[in-house]
């Protein structure tokens, strides 16, 4: 049998399985409950939480972008390990507080949380709009990943548009029918598959080109001095750039609304136990970086359309791999992309329904709200699909660009929980200015001062304006205590 046929069969088998698991997850639950759809009635168990939160790390970025960074930028790729292990630490502190407030006040989204704390519907809608836009950007990245993997491993038998349509179509169906529970259950399947594939493929790749890990790194150090350290000659990134991109990622991680709102799906102890497994997830990413390092000196960059294609290129061109390996990698990469896409699609539909539509039409019956959310899964999915097939941008830049805007929520969130004096004027001023600065340095200016990440520059302006404007305006109402003491 042709290798690409085996790959196609393996990926199809995986897709059918993911579809069944995702759709079955919602059975026996109330189809018409907003609480069930959005936060699983605040009752998700520990294993589901692990994989639901873990699925976000194991994205197309990790699986394709990770080896790509290791191959093209060397030690700068260590940043992926560092932010994975650090990203969830702040959740240990803010998650339980947010969970208690959310359960008491019946919140489902970050917009509701911030809008209530600062007594401002404008903030809620603003957060909703930014979230949906960032989600769409993030989604296009995952969809491109799925489509690309499908296309390469089936040796062009499945065109880009069709691969994206099949794999993302399945995500849309199980998210629309089963809500957060559909995403969580399919993430368990996808997480296990991806962890397995990462290690098998990582070590297979290393040992097919080198005599082990040490031999591989010694070879790189001999041929590319400086490649294995950050900031030296021959390295892909300056120390300042490395430091600030890591800071943006760590501060921004839990500000992603689809992760932030997972505080509402469970309770304090499970939140803290979920933080505990993140270092383990980070360790699991190590072999993924090895894939990229193994290709240094083996693959000529001129042969690639971009560094993100290094993993599929290695498998199809360099290894003489069997059809089974094709299939494993295909299924693993699909799993990585889909487990992120489902959580983001779900988050987008909830943000759209609760933070954009609800404030404009507050007295909608629950059934109508549910319909709006389920239909917006399809709407958001369609937009993201269109952008990913017809738009263009590098995988990593896309994610970092979206990250830059999301991190701007941080001052308002931390202020809500620990600073009495924050006001809605301060939040809006900081948020708008922070996002503007970020975009100015990302899109208009070719470089930033001192090589500082654009998101950090935005954050500095954001914090100054948030604190400054809050001090000169009066806080509306006195909800601060309720939040700070939660």
């Amino acid at each position: 049998m042709e290798k690409w046929v085996v790959a196609l069969l393996a990926m199809s088998a995986y897709l059918v399985f993911a579809f069944i698991v995702g759709v079955l997850a919602g059975r026996g639950r109330s189809f018409w409950s907003v609480s069930e759809y959005t936060v699983a009635d605040r009752g998700l168990g520990l294993v589901l939480m692990w994989f639901l939160m873990g699925g976000t790390v194991f994205s197309a970025f990790a699986f394709l972008g990770g080896p790509g960074w290791a191959y093209s930028k060397g030690a700068a790729s260590f940043y992926i390990l560092a932010y994975t292990c650090l990203g969830l630490l702040p959740w240990y502190l803010i998650g339980p507080k947010v969970a208690r407030i959310g359960a008491r006040k019946n919140f489902y989204t970050m917009g509701e949380f911030l809008g209530d704390r600062y007594d401002s519907r404008a903030i809620q809608v603003l957060v909703g709009v930014i979230s949906v836009l960032a989600f769409i950007q993030y989604l296009t990245l995952q969809i491109k990943g799925m489509a690309y993997v499908f296309n390469v491993l089936t040796e062009d038998a499945i065109p880009i548009w069709l691969g994206a349509l099949i794999s993302y179509g399945i995500v849309i169906v199980y998210v629309a029918t089963s809500g957060v529970r559909g995403a969580a259950w399919s993430d368990v399947l996808q997480g296990i598959l991806m962890l397995l594939v990462a290690w098998v493929v990582g070590y297979t790749v290393v040992y097919s080109f080198h005599d082990g890990v040490a031999d591989m790194f010694r070879g790189i150090e001999a041929s590319r001095p400086g490649f294995l350290t950050v900031g030296a000659e021959g390295s892909g990134m300056s120390p300042m750039s490395y430091t600030t991109i890591l800071l943006v990622s760590v501060i921004g991680f839990i500000m992603w609304p689809h992760l932030f709102t997972k505080s509402f799906t469970t309770t304090e102890k499970k939140i803290k136990q979920t933080v505990l497994v993140y270092p383990l997830f980070a360790i699991f990413l190590v072999p993924i970086l090895f894939i990229g390092f193994a290709a240094v000196g083996v693959v000529d960059p001129a042969q690639l359309t971009g560094p993100d294609t290094i993993l599929p290129h290695l498998v199809t061109h360099e290894m003489g791999a069997s059809g089974i390996v094709y299939g494993l990698i295909g299924a693993g990469a699909l799993a990585a992309a889909m487990s992120s896409a489902d959580a983001i699609t779900h988050g987008g539909s909830v943000s759209f329904g609760r933070d954009i539509i609800q404030p404009l039409k507050p007295d909608l019956p629950e059934r109508t709200q549910i319909w709006i959310m389920r239909l917006s899964v399809i709407a958001i999915g369609t937009v993201a699909y269109y952008l990913s097939i017809f738009g263009a941008a590098g995988l990593v830049q896309l994610l970092v660009g979206a990250y830059g805007s999301i991190v701007q929520f941080a001052p308002a969130v931390y202020g809500a929980l620990w600073w009495r004096r924050g006001t809605s004027t301060g939040v809006i001023a900081g948020l708008v200015a922070g996002i503007a600065v970020n975009y100015y340095f990302q899109l208009v200016q070719p470089a930033t001062p001192l090589d500082i990440n654009a998101g950090i520059l935005g954050l500095i302006v954001n914090v100054v304006l948030f604190v400054g404007m809050s001090m000169v305006t009066n806080p509306a109402g006195s909800r601060a205590d309720e939040y700070i003491k939660a």
Binding site: A75, L81, V213, F217, E221, T243, P279
Partner: protein, 80 residues
């Protein structure tokens, strides 16, 4: 609906180590960024086959895991 969720509102931990945890987080971040990471940012000595710049991160991830275990054990083990 919110009222039925009363158990979720209550604190589950019996002891609060938030301040210590904030310090723990800060230390974990500082060892991963410059200037402190600069001390580990070199190839030799290689450990477990990895350049020191990578081993440093992996080792601290181990420290983080043990630290988290201790925090959770401490916060959830006291008398209610």
């Amino acid at each position: 609906m919110a009222m039925e969720d009363q158990p979720a509102v209550a604190r589950e931990s019996t002891r609060d180590a938030s301040k210590a945890f904030a310090i723990f987080t800060a230390v974990m971040v500082l060892v991963m960024i410059f200037p402190i990471y600069g001390f580990a940012n070199k190839v030799e000595p290689m450990v477990l086959g990895m350049p020191f710049s990578l081993f440093w991160i992996v080792a601290w991830i181990g420290v983080e895991f043990v630290g988290l275990l201790c925090f959770i054990a401490y916060e959830f083990s006291g008398e209610r």
